[in-house]
Amino acid sequence: MNDVLRRSLVFSTFAVAIVFIGFLQSWNVALGIFNLCLISATMALGVNIQLGYAGIFNAGVMGFAALGGLSAVIISYKPVSETISLGGLGILICILILLLGSVLGVIVYKSNLSQAYKKILFPLIIIVVLLLLNLIGAPAVERIEAFEPAASGFLGGFGLPIILSWIVGGVIAGLVAYLIGKITLGLRSDYLAIATLGIAEVIIYILKNEDWLTRGVKNVNGLPRPVPYEIDLQESTWFIELCQNFGFPLVETSSIVVKLSYCFLFSIVVLTLFILSEVALKSPWGRMMRAIRDNEISARAMGKNVKARHLEIFILGSAIIGLAGAMLTTLEGQFTPTTYQPLRFTFTVWVMVIIGGTGNNYGSLIGGFLVWFLWVEAEPLGLYLVELITSPLSETNPLRIQLITNAAHMRYMMMGLLLLLVLRFAPKGIFPEGR
């Protein structure tokens, strides 16, 4: 009972905060914040599965989120027929070569050839694949990128509904997680964190530089939406009538309706994931995971395959993060590889999970909500604080101007302080993990 009371108290406090923003700033802002809170909570759920259930430190959250964003582009953007005819075949052949190369590699690895042969064959396969890729891929890529570089210069996507990309994003992130997990999961915690940090950086570099795939730093704008556009709403008669009947302002209402529809879609995802994670946690599978986390050696002695279970959970968590990444790109309607910063994506999500309470799904929800809320509201709050502190100085004091322009960066300091304080004084978080 105590648990239920505590949960309802914390969640209603958060609801009050959102309503407060709604009245104080505007409902548009409040809903905008809440939508991102939902996405953050999804990511936190994914990280909680890894960090909370199994104690896996994934510092590559950013990379998986970016893969989700990539899938949003590939699924929803309409195909650019010119570039496909220019270089589509070359890219296709390259993908086939890569697949063939990896299959060959696996065959060699699994075969019972002697080590000496393997040592020669492996580098040989890699060099041949790289050479072929350069020979076939480079001209194709050049042709694609040369086509109207200011507006297009990439292959586009499949032109399918963007909602589909949420699932595809999860699948892509899961597949990449499988590859990464195979290599890195044998490592102990510190190395795993460093290795995944590196993988995320590499993924972002690829997305930034492979212009034929993502337009690189030129960004992809104008992704289609799963919900109606404000301008269409404002022009449809039923909506105008509705607003007139209730006396709502037309423009503001239309954007609120759009945000509410996003909110509805995201809520379905978050609720489904939450219920599934709770069921999984309470099931024998969840108990086994926690047993492995708490005492790996005795779990192994009980006959549990620790490595396979870790791989399983790494894939699951990463897939959820990929899904959240696709949701984020859908909400923003554009894919900008440069916005993926480890501080913003990886470590903030960690803070969410730790503050909420590692291993507790309610904790991840509220952690995602609260931390995102603070992340956004830190800017006005920081500005207010700085202005208060520097008010004795004159308006034109260079120090004051400098501090006020940099006040937005207070949010990093706040995150750090929050993490350190929670870690020190309430290491179990807002909702401690239950037994």
Binding site: S189, G198, Q341, M415, G416, L419
Partner: protein, 336 residues
């Protein structure tokens, strides 16, 4: 002659920049490795410590310049380096006192230390952006080149040449001096020996009367000093960017792990291995091969293994290979 031309090209584009960048990585990796050896955790805040040190140095350089202080042909920042080291060491002292001392007393899991270091990283990153802002700062006011490519060509009569930047010479020299001092300190002095003893076997060190607090504080101070050197030298050589230091974390960790975590010699060697391989793999060999090969075999492409954009990926690939093939690193450090 052709061979000398090729050599000059490689020196200009790979060896000199490689050894400079390698020195900066080595100084960073030394700090990471020392913290690991004594405190047994990977310090994710190290990149931001480098940034912090460089920031303090820049602030004092600006102050000094406004009073007309300069260092002749050398960058003014070098005068204020000791002050910056003092401040960074003090900052490290506070971090140890207010954050890590508690977990050390409680004998927490290394992973708790790691999370705490991420908290410190966040806080420091915010502090730096709050004080100096997120934009780039160029504070190298000394003479840019000791000799440049044109002068080298005129002097030797070769078709190709290399230039030696002042910052490159300073970086490499400083690193050699610092490393020698550090190794003499660790191997010859009483305090250094007690540090190594503590790292080797904590209980035995305590038994023989070594004060753990003193050792840990000293480690932080040394790590902070090295971080300041690395940050300032990197800023002098390239440019000071608050955002770059989080990206530097990956090659620095790679350098420490490749050399063997907890092993100072390994950290230095690892730094050079990472830096040189980054440049060797991303260099376009077309001109070099044109000098070395007979004319009929002259290559038409760029002859580049990887595009320069993937420089950071190289350090990561090396890291993964080392982790799989020889997890203890080249010099048999400790496994995490």
């Amino acid at each position: 002659m052709d061979f000398l031309n090729a050599l000059a090209l490689i020196t200009n584009y790979i060896l000199l920049p490689g050894f400079t960048y390698g020195s900066q990585l080595a100084l960073g990796a030394l700090g990471v490795t020392l913290i690991y050896a004594v405190l047994r955790f990977s310090n994710f805040a190290h990149g931001e410590l480098m940034s912090f040190g460089a920031m303090i140095c820049i602030l004092f350089t600006w102050l000094g310049q406004s009073y007309g202080i300069n260092f002749g042909i050398l960058p003014t920042a070098l005068i204020f380096l000791p002050i910056a080291i003092g401040f960074t060491a003090l900052y490290c002292f506070f971090i140890e006192k207010f954050v890590f001392a508690y977990y050390r007393r409680k004998k927490s899991d290394p992973i708790i230390f790691l999370i705490a270091s991420i908290g410190v990283m966040f806080f420091t990153a915010g502090l730096i952006r709050f004080i100096i802002g997120p934009s780039d700062q160029n504070f190298n006011d000394g003479v840019r080149f000791i000799f440049n490519v044109r002068e080298f060509k005129a002097f030797t009569g070769l078709d190709e040449g290399f230039g030696l930047k002042t910052s490159q010479a300073i970086t490499i020299l400083t690193t050699i001096i610092l490393c020698s001092i550090l190794f003499v300190f660790l191997n010859k002095t009483r305090t250094g020996k007690s540090m190594r003893a503590f790292s080797d076997n904590e209980d035995l060190a305590l038994l023989s009367g070594i004060d753990p607090n003193k050792v840990v504080l000293l480690t932080w101070v040394i790590a902070g000093g090295l971080a300041t050197f690395a940050g300032v030298l990197y800023g002098l050589d390239k440019i000071y960017k608050p955002f770059i230091f989080l990206q530097m974390l990956l090659p620095i960790f790679s350098a420490a792990i490749v050399g063997g975590v907890g092993n100072p010699i390994g950290a230095v060697v690892g730094g050079y291995v990472i830096a040189l391989s980054e440049l060797f793999v991303t260099f376009a060999y077309r001109k070099v091969l044109a000098y070395l090969l007979p004319e009929s075999m002259e290559p038409s492409g760029m002859m580049q293994f990887l595009s320069t954009d993937y420089k950071f990926a190289v350090s990561f690939i090396i890291l993964v290979i080392v982790l799989i093939v020889r997890p203890t690193g080249i010099f048999r450090g400790q496994t995490i």
